[in-house]
Amino acid sequence: MTISETRSISRQMTSQPDYLDLRRQDLNSTYRPQREWIEGRGILIVIAHFFAGIGAGAWIFSILFDYRVGEIMAVVSIGLSGLAHLAFLGRWQRFLRILARPNSSWVSRGMWGTLLYGIGALVYFLPGVRDTLMGSISLGISLFGVTLVLLCSGYVYSVSKAIPFWHTVLVPILYIAYGLRGGVALLLVAAVFGGSSLDIDTMETIKLWVLASTIVLILFYLIIANRSGGAASYSVHELVAGRISVAFYGGTIGIGILVPLALAIGREFGLAGMLTLGIIGFASLIGDFYVKYCVVKAGTYVPLGDAVGPVSPKIV
């Protein structure tokens, strides 16, 4: 019996051969991609952080512009984020334990943020509370909560020493910028499909500024990561010319930046209408999802083994 035949039989006998082969290959490779927070149920983390970001951004701008439809959409988004988080956990029944370590864990802080936001928003929505002192206090609590949520979704990645592409303060900044951008985009979509008392022109101006800032941030982030060398540089390579390039160019750059930019310029030259605004908002939301997908997917662990000899690219 040949070795390949033996391996084939072995694969048939194991219950999850692909998964095990992949894990074995990862553990032996020089640049090991992180898979736990992106593949299988791991995609729920990206979905959770997407909804958390746009929900937080939408809440802030809804409060700023006193836009009720937006407030409801923000609550729904953060609720969906919470559900996605729960569905991701291996032991979701124990989720309250996550509140235990806010002193050191950003995951714990994020949970506190969601909880505070939920309590604040709930009280704020009670009839007759909005214009009272209680309303102001609950609004303050909810805003503190969403700020924490916005911060945490980036910091849970940037504290990972093992993944250099994430281990930079630029990741939380990028997540905050995209959260705010996503929030505005959600309000634009809400304004188109939900009827509007929203100041569209102001929102569009804010949207353009945030769009411009995200372009600069992405460029800055990629240049810095590429110059860091090692695993961070490898991650950039995976994004711009590797296994994630389709999602990066198609989702993040194409739909997320170029489409909104082109339509926004088109509006300046007469391409008016609420539908155009809705498309700008919708494309921005897709871009918001894809930037998070790409950043998480590109995460690569620091290579082991450099200390004992030259690292060969060959997998033994």
């Binding site: 194991t14 032996n28 291996g90 032991r91 334990r97 020493k161 000899g309």
Partner: protein, 204 residues
Amino acid sequence: MRLGMVIDLKRCIGCYGCQIACKAENGTRPGTTYARVLKREFGTYPNVKKQSLPLLCMHCGDAPCIEVCPTGASQKRSDGIVFIDADMCVGCRACMMACPYAARYFQDEERNYFGVGMAPTAYEVSRYQDHQSGVVEKCDFCRHRLDQDKEPACVANCMCKARIFGNLDDPESEVSRLIKEESGFQLNAEWGTDPSVYYLPAER
């Protein structure tokens, strides 16, 4: 007291004995190898060299996994052993993102070694009952053996005596002596995690 290990790369022949001994001792599921051996080739023919690098949890003095754990499931004993309280773990996997040594494993479903769609063997049922699914697992220096004054399984079963276990805080211990006299080093010390596992160089 700070328990630690020294692994002599000159002595290690890459036989995977530690990996098998660990699996037998801890009864881990497929895909989980608390102790594993990484192998690398470098050079070009005829000057080619193969190097084995045994890996396990480094039981870091400044463990990033403990810092990021939201529930307190990742803990450190007074003797420096980093372990996971499975009953407290929620399976968020933040510790896996923080660990640079790939020492943590998550079981998202109950896999077994034998039979597609078949029930696990009686042996597997017996061994897996101590392992919860949906939580993260890792090496704990075989603390159940240490409590019985035995060495970790990977140390006891290393046929080349490449692994030495002892108290790093005791300057008279074998591990301290080897680190001092044989230029012991921590794997990727520049990451600042202060591992309790030291390696002796393959060449001097």
